[in-house]
């Protein structure tokens, strides 16, 4: 894979924690790769597995779900629901031969702007290593 490959990431960020962290990262003028597009959701627990599958099948290189730290969910237990769903989803991805490493679930609180920037950087790097999502080749976008 050529080194100038730029992966596309779609991220679903919980409005209370990780979305706030992304906001703060911006306010703090932090620098991180522009590869991740953000879709704001109320809670990581509201992320339907189809929201993850659809972009992957459409050829996006990675999906990031960001939620509050365990115990800190604004809705008490939404992040636990997300955790269960994503574990199940990854098992399905794995069983049908898709790379479950393309889906990241991370806990990033509103105060952790640096961690958000770091996570996006790491994910971009990791996906650069992996290269193009093979789905992109099967279904032309």
């Amino acid at each position: 894979m050529t080194s100038d490959f730029e992966p596309r990431i779609i991220s679903f960020l919980c409005t209370w924690c990780t979305y706030t962290a992304a906001d703060t990262a911006g306010i703090s003028r932090m620098r991180y790769p522009p590869n991740a597009d953000i879709i704001r959701v109320m809670c990581s627990g509201s992320v339907d597995p189809t929201y993850v599958l659809r972009p992957l099948l459409d050829g996006v290189d990675g999906v990031l779900i960001g939620g509050c730290h365990p115990g800190d969910c604004h809705y008490q237990s939404g992040n636990y629901k997300a955790r269960r769903r994503i574990v199940a989803l990854k098992m399905i991805l794995d069983s049908v031969g898709l790379d479950d490493e393309r889906v990241w679930l991370r806990w990033i609180s509103g105060a952790e702007a640096g961690r958000y920037a770091e996570t996006v950087t790491q994910m971009t790097e990791a996906l650069k290593e992996k290269g193009l999502n093979p789905m992109r080749q099967k279904w032309a976008v």
Partner: protein, 952 residues
């Protein structure tokens, strides 16, 4: 603050903690625990008289530990509400263990302060017989004493004896201690005109007599014997409890104005109440007849003349009547305290007879059916018996008392025993060994195997306990089955200790007073929480040197055994004043407040209630403002500042107290040596702007350091060196103040103070870089002030969980938006004020708090709450009634409607998290404004955009 405290619309719940918050904006339910203050807020006038009498000394937290305060205190003079509070962890274990509730920690604290007369009053509060219980108590308090986990328990009983003996020798000082110290609102109650008869003048009867007399009732005590005191007088031998000492305490009670009728046997307690032949009728009768009947051993020969009951023997001895014991072989049956008393009394009586009339002293043996280990007698009594020359035969049980031809006792046939399985008392049951009989020589046999009440005078109409041996009573009121007749003491419990009878007597007296006055009868006693000193705390105190392992100071001198058996003189000698004070110092003060009651005696408005318990309030509120503040960062964490190594290295807060006119030196700036400092260094940014501590700027330190520099210069004229990194004078008028301080001749060194060294002579030396000069500077100082950081309180985690708050990276509570919403939080209806959100000075805090109040008012004033439109909705035609959503909703906003067989969302409760929408198998639920279509459209939109990467 005063205004807030007085405002009619503000209820101040001080000394309280929020335990739980539920509900939502506009409809919060808050559970609040009000800790017991032990002072009634509406009565206390903050007159401070209690401060002077409290014997407890504790470090004063408000003065940063630089001064001390008593257990009853007010944090500072301007505190709101202006009332005192008692620092009490709970009832001390010693008091909790004692049946009379004796405030042992209280009188021990007073002994430590050498206030013996006050200690005596404290003891008499719960126990009318200090001199008695100071000698012969079973002292369960000492078993409970926490000091026992360090080395040995405090000699509580002996300290009581010391106080009682001291009080007898200092009647004037005692009278002064008991004299009213102030006009108290409640005075001695008027005579009620109610008449009470008390049958039996033992510890229970006399306690009831005292209590009821003090409540204003007319009390008559009937005693069958020619002496008062019950078992204390005729059951406990003279050498353990001199009759003269007992009589002193009895006289104190009788002198209250009680009619004591000695030699007056009551034949029927029910008839006594109604009849007129013995001075009746009475409004109430108390039966305290004790347990004076012997339990006879089931052996043959019990009717022989030299076969004695211990009770009869001891009763006779107490009135100087002894059988002839010269040269006799005496066998005492039993292993309890009474057996020891009988044996030792027999030794003394026989020896004294032999001394007088010539002949050999008696040979006394105790025969017990178990072994030494199971013997119920107190160890001290057993040891004394051994010293007195009493011999012991273990594992023998009497079978028959043998008589000679003239019908006199000549021996005791016994059966050898062995120990079997433990019985219900936990002791191993003795079992006879078949055929293992033995004959012991004996001229006199004294049976001390128990006693029971003689219920001849108690008619059958008064119910008995199930075993038929004692009087049955209600455990809360000590009332018998007959109206107006109460009972307590050995007559109810069987043989027990003086403190048990006194405790039960108090209980009976309370109930009888209620009965006589037509008040509601007392229910079960409220069990107050017991203060426990944990093992960790003991270890910590040992480590800090506060507690040093040592042996008991109060080791009582005993009269030598060879000497004491020739008379009935008291065996144990007195406790000296020095010993008592030193022993009292060993107390760990488990309860903090010792409940000595001294504050109660001086409180004019009767505002002190030591029995207060915590209260729980359920409040309904519309909005919550969290203003939990900050804590000072602990400079021990950066060792280069040597904090704690010299008393002249202070934090900014400590210096603040030192320079305050309400502080420990009255506002004089003095070193620990009491001298005015000549050179003072102030180090800024200790713990702030430091990646080894807190990276943030604490904001307030520059200005308070400047103020403190000004104060030092102004009050002492000392040289002041300020080590600063940057001077942050961000507020209105602040820069002008900085300039003024510069003009006062204060020296500013730009650079972090790097190190404080304590020199061997105690002087301090501060080093740091002066970055303006580019070289290291060194300053000698008499005092160093560390301008320490402020940080989020240690319990911010719990507070955050309670109110649903987020926290920023610095640990303070997170506002909803750093720029646009600085007082709101992510939980609607919960606002932040002051340093709870981040470091700020007073003007900024006031502004922030004002904003929080406005936000809350705006919310409440509307009367209605605007909720977010982002709620979940169910498409009922798609709903498959699987109920998955119901378990997914953390707010119980979704209910299942049986009639329509669908799930339905309560929009007022729904918070819009969308968990149900994501989990709904048929996709019937959508989260408004975050529908699948909207999300998918966003995904598609993003994917359709050409990837343009912008490198900023």
């Amino acid at each position: 603050m005063m205004d807030a405290g007085r405002h009619p619309n503000i209820t101040l719940l001080s000394y309280s903690e929020v335990e739980d918050v539920s509900g939502y904006v506009g409809n919060f339910e808050v559970k609040v625990r009000r800790n017991p203050r032990y002072v009634l807020e509406d009565l206390c006038t903050a007159c401070s008289l209690c401060l002077e009498v409290c014997p407890i000394t504790l470090p004063d937290e408000f003065n940063e530990g630089l001064g001390t305060r008593p257990a009853i205190y007010r944090s500072f003079a301007q505190a709101i509400p202006s009332v005192f509070v008692i620092d009490k962890k709970g009832v001390a274990p010693c008091r909790d263990a004692c049946p009379t509730g004796q405030r042992a920690q209280g009188y021990i604290a007073l002994i430590r302060e050498r206030r013996f007369a006050d200690a005596y009053r404290s003891i008499k509060e719960d126990n009318p017989f200090p001199a008695v219980c100071g000698r012969i108590c079973n002292h369960v308090c000492e078993d409970a004493c926490s000091r026992g986990r360090v080395d040995e328990p405090i000699s509580i009983m002996r300290l009581k004896r010391f106080v009682a003996d001291w009080a007898f020798e200092h009647p004037e000082e005692v009278a002064k201690a008991f004299a009213p110290k102030i006009d108290q609102d409640a005075e001695t109650p008027d005579a009620t005109g109610k008449r009470v008869a008390i049958v039996g003048s033992g510890p229970a009867g006399l306690t009831v007599a005292q209590d009821l007399k003090l409540s204003g009732h007319d009390v008559t005590v009937f005693e069958a014997l020619p002496v008062a005191g019950g078992m204390m007088r005729v059951g406990i031998p003279e050498y353990r409890l001199p009759a003269e000492i007992l009589q002193r305490e009895i006289d104190e009670i009788i002198d209250l104005g009680i009619d004591l009728k000695l030699n007056t046997k009551v034949d029927d307690v029910v008839a006594l109440k109604s009849g007129e032949d013995q001075g009746g009728p009475f409004d109430a009768v108390f039966v305290g007849i004790g347990a004076h009947s012997d339990v006879r051993p089931p052996v043959t020969g019990v009717d022989l003349p030299q076969m004695l009951a211990a009770n009869d023997f001891l009763r006779g001895a107490s009135m100087d009547y002894y059988p002839d014991l010269i040269g006799k072989k005496v066998i005492v049956l039993g292993g309890g305290d009474v057996a020891m008393d009988a044996a030792c009394t027999a030794v003394r009586a026989g020896t004294m007879q032999a001394d007088r009339e010539g002949g050999e002293p008696p040979e006394v043996r105790v025969a017990y059916r178990r072994t030494e280990a199971e013997m119920p007698a107190l160890e001290a009594e057993y040891t004394q018996a051994l010293e007195d020359g009493v011999a012991f035969d273990w594992l023998v049980s009497p079978v028959s008392v043998e008589a000679d031809d003239e019908g006199n006792v000549c021996g005791l046939s016994c059966c050898r025993m062995e120990l079997g399985e433990p019985d219900e008392s936990g002791r191993r049951r003795p079992m006879s060994i078949d055929g293992a009989e033995c004959l012991m020589d004996a001229d006199v046999v004294i049976s001390a195997i128990g006693a029971r009440p003689n219920l001849e005078s108690v008619p059958e109409v008064i119910k008995r306990t199930p075993n038929g041996r004692q009087i049955a009573v209600d455990e809360n009121t000590m009332a018998t089955s007959v109206d107006g007749i109460f009972a307590a003491g050995d007559a109810v419990t069987g043989m027990a200790f003086v403190v048990d009878a006194v405790g039960a007597g108090h209980k009976a007296a309370r109930a009888m007073h209620a009965y006589l006055m037509g008040l509601p009868m007392p229910g079960p006693e409220v069990k107050l929480p017991v203060a426990d000193v944990s093992d960790e705390e003991i270890e910590a105190r040992k480590a800090s040197g506060q507690v040093v392992e040592m042996v008991r100071v109060c080791t009582l001198e005993e009269v030598d055994a060879g000497e004491r058996i020739h008379s009935m003189c008291e065996v144990t000698g007195p406790v000296s004043e020095e010993e008592a004070v030193e022993e009292a110092m060993r107390c760990l003060q488990c309860g903090v407040c010792s409940e000595c009651n001294q504050c109660v005696y001086v409180c004019g408005p009767l505002a002190i209630d030591h029995n207060m318990v915590e209260e729980h309030l359920d409040l309904k509120v519309g909005a919550i403002i969290v203003a939990t503040g900050f804590q000072m960062w602990d400079p021990h964490q950066l060792s280069q500042y040597s904090y704690g190594k010299s008393p002249n290295i202070l934090t900014g807060m400590e210096f603040e107290r030192l320079s305050s006119s309400g502080g420990p030196t009255g506002g004089e700036i003095l070193t620990a040596e009491g001298k005015k400092p000549e050179s003072v260094a102030i180090i800024h940014c200790v713990g702030s702007r430091d990646h080894n501590a807190h990276p943030y700027c604490s904001r307030v330190c520059c200005m308070y350091s400047l103020k403190q520099a000004h104060l030092v210069r102004d009050k002492t004229g000392a040289d002041v060196y300020n080590f600063y990194m940057d001077m942050r004078t961000f507020g209105k008028g602040y820069e002008e103040f900085y300039e003024r301080v510069q003009e006062e001749g204060i020296i500013f060194i730009r650079g972090r103070g790097a190190q404080v060294e304590v020199l061997p002579d105690g002087k301090l030396q501060v080093r740091g870089e002066d970055s303006n000069l580019g070289r290291v500077v060194q300053v000698d100082a008499d005092m160093v002030i560390l301008s320490t950081a402020i940080e989020a309180p240690g319990d911010a985690d719990q507070t955050a969980a309670l109110f649903g708050l987020g926290r920023s990276e610095d640990g303070f509570f997170a506002e909803a938006h750093p720029k646009m919403r600085p007082v709101e939080t992510n939980t609607d209806g919960v606002f932040l004020a002051g340093t709870a959100q981040g470091p700020r000075d007073v003007p900024d805090t006031v502004a922030h708090a004002g904003a929080a109040a406005s936000m809350a008012l705006a919310l409440l004033d509307k009367g209605v709450v605007t909720i977010s439109p982002q709620v979940a909705v169910v498409n009922e035609t798609l709903c498959s009634a699987c109920k998955t959503c119901i378990s997914l909703c953390p707010y119980t906003a979704i209910s299942f409607v049986e009639r329509d067989n669908v799930a339905r969302v309560n929009e007022a409760l729904c918070k819009g998290c969308g968990a149900c929408a994501a989990g709904c198998p048929p996709g019937a639920i959508t989260a408004r404004h975050f529908t699948d279509e909207q999300i998918m459209a966003q995904i598609e939109g993003l994917l359709s955009m050409p990837r343009v990467l912008v490198e900023a």
